[in-house]
Amino acid sequence: MISADEIFDGFIGGGKPSENYIRKEVVLFEDLIISSEIDRKMTRLLSLHPQLRVEFRTKDLSNLDEKTKEALLQDMYDILGVTPLSNE
């Protein structure tokens, strides 16, 4: 049972953060073609964590089969020490 204080029904925000708080070390992979949730998760981790290094021969991630992508994503989680929680 959650308490009344834990219930939020309003609104938050209304804009983007100051440029001063954007992480400079984040790398954007704008040329990669993302067509699935797993593509999105992989490119997000690669962007946020520069210690993860993967070079793709193709820019279209749909050319990789699902098992390869799942194994690659799991390797990234292992390196980062993340046990992903279910949000799918």
Binding site: I2, S3, D5, E6, I7, F8, D9, G10, F11, I12, G13, G14, G15, K16, P17, S18, Y21, I22, R23, V26, L28, F29, E30, I34, E37, D39, R40, K41, T43, R44, L45, S47, L48, H49, L80, V82, T83, P84, L85, S86, N87, E88
Partner: protein, 206 residues
């Protein structure tokens, strides 16, 4: 067709039953049709009360466009079985933590519960706690992205929002827009971890 990301349970206000709802990726068409053209048509609510809501002028169609650039931005919504959007949120993954130097955080740029769920605007709100569910989604997203559950946001410091943030362990960082009365908050790793442990429904692993 909308991208279904997860099925969650939301609490109906009238009978206190938990109902299955869907977290979806928000498209521009859906935002225009089911938020911008719909949310503020509240027949029983005076126009002054609507105008007093700080988000009544937000254009979610534009927000979705702004947050669909790449994998570091996302915009989601909660779809009820009745086919209404009960809340929406836009966030980005590439901001610095103000509490832990060198660490990252998710920043929630825009979050809103549908006006028909706000008890101060309508006499019979449909669902409760939609904002809480959306924030919890952001904590999971942060954790899965290797950001250890940290989320940051700006908010008006009303009595009820302060109580909510304190109950979840948010820490007030600083006020970057004092003229607008907004206050910066961040959920640190320790509080995120406590929230994740408390909410067992999400403890199943991928």
């Amino acid at each position: 067709m909308q991208d279904l990301l997860k099925t969650v349970q939301i609490l109906r206000e009238d009978n206190h039953q938990n109902i299955d709802a869907s977290i979806i990726r928000l498209s521009r068409d859906f935002a225009r049709e089911k938020i911008d053209n719909t949310w503020w048509s509240l027949s029983e609510t005076p126009e002054e009360a609507i105008q007093a809501e700080g988000d009544s002028h937000w254009k979610w169609e534009d927000i979705v466009l702004d947050y669909s650039d790449n994998s570091l931005y996302d915009c989601i919504a909660l779809l009820s079985p009745e086919g209404y959007l009960e809340g929406a949120m836009a966030y980005q993954f590439n901001v610095e933590s103000k509490l832990e130097k060198g660490k990252g955080s998710i920043y929630i740029g825009w979050l809103a519960s549908a006006p028909h769920n706000r008890g101060w605007l309508v006499s019979r709100p449909q669902y409760r706690g939609i904002g809480t569910i959306l924030l919890y989604w952001a904590v999971i997203e942060s954790y899965n992205a290797g950001l250890e559950g940290r989320i940051s946001l700006q908010s008006l410091p009303t009595a009820s929002t302060i109580r909510f943030y304190e109950s979840k362990g948010f820490v007030r960082t600083d006020s970057t827009q004092p003229a607008m009365g907004l206050v910066d908050y961040e959920l640190p790793k320790s509080a995120a971890s406590a929230w994740l442990k408390k909410t067992e429904i999400y403890h199943d692993k991928c």
